[in-house]
Symmetry: C2
Subunit: 156 residues, 2 copies
């Protein structure tokens, strides 16, 4: 399939699943060599899961389909520019390329906070609107040291 | 439970679950009025899910436990400062406060890319290391328009 065909599928999902009550108007497709590996769509309200954005759902399904946590030979087609949560998920999944259609300003215009998140996340912790407090740093360190010295760890 | 007790539980999860092979050394607890609502720990490698960070897992479980996608009356205790993906998830879940122990520099020192992601995400799309391309913006717009005029939509 061409990039245009894959994006049209993501756009079709954004419309169909939203109309059937799954959640917001967002669809995503993950492809490898032009073939669909997995599809996702927003399920925040229908599954009571604020992390169930189209891209996160598609990533989870693609990893299940391929049996691995690394999608570096795949690309994602998403009907809207990923929010910071989804962008982080895309980096962690090592996806090779993002194709998007609507952008964060389009999303803000229909009531989604992507743009706010893009402004908040780079701020120093003390300047964010979300109160954030450090606690027991000295006690948490041991697990990090144990990870470093763990002989059979699976790095990711 | 006090904040210190809740953080000690998150830290204990970060050690125990890492040692039993679940994934990286990260634990999280979501609490309401000092009572635990849900616990999470990193399951990236054991579940082949790059989104299964401790905070995301805890958020999903807390939402399942409470039957809603909004955790605004809850706080999260995480053994490490959230990565941008998890921070995004925390904002979407409307959590009221973040408590953390290790920070992003501690995470970078043991091989986790949180700090890289914090540097990438604020960049303009054209300056990121991840290729990002716009496609078919004109065709994607219709689903956003349909969302705006959908009479029975559940906003989130």
């Amino acid at each position: 399939m061409t990039p245009e065909s894959l994006m049209r599928r993501a756009i079709a999902l954004s419309m169909e699943k939203m109309q059937s009550g799954s959640g917001g108007p967002f669809g995503a497709v993950i492809a490898r060599n032009g073939e669909v590996v997995a599809e996702g769509w927003n399920q925040v309200t229908s599954s009571a899961d604020p992390t169930a954005h189209a891209e996160v759902v598609a990533i989870r399904r693609a990893c299940q389909a391929l049996g691995r946590f690394d999608l570096r030979d795949c690309e994602i087609f998403t009907s809207c520019e990923p929010c910071p949560m989804c962008l982080g998920a895309i980096y962690w999944a090592r996806l090779g390329r993002i194709w998007y259609a609507n952008d964060r300003r389009d999303a803000a215009a229909i009531g989604f906070d992507d743009d706010l998140l893009y402004r908040e996340i780079p701020l120093p912790l003390t300047e964010r609107s979300l109160p954030t407090q450090r606690l027991l740093a000295d006690e948490a360190r041991a697990a990090f040291d144990a990870w470093m010295s763990k002989p059979d760890k699976v790095a990711y």
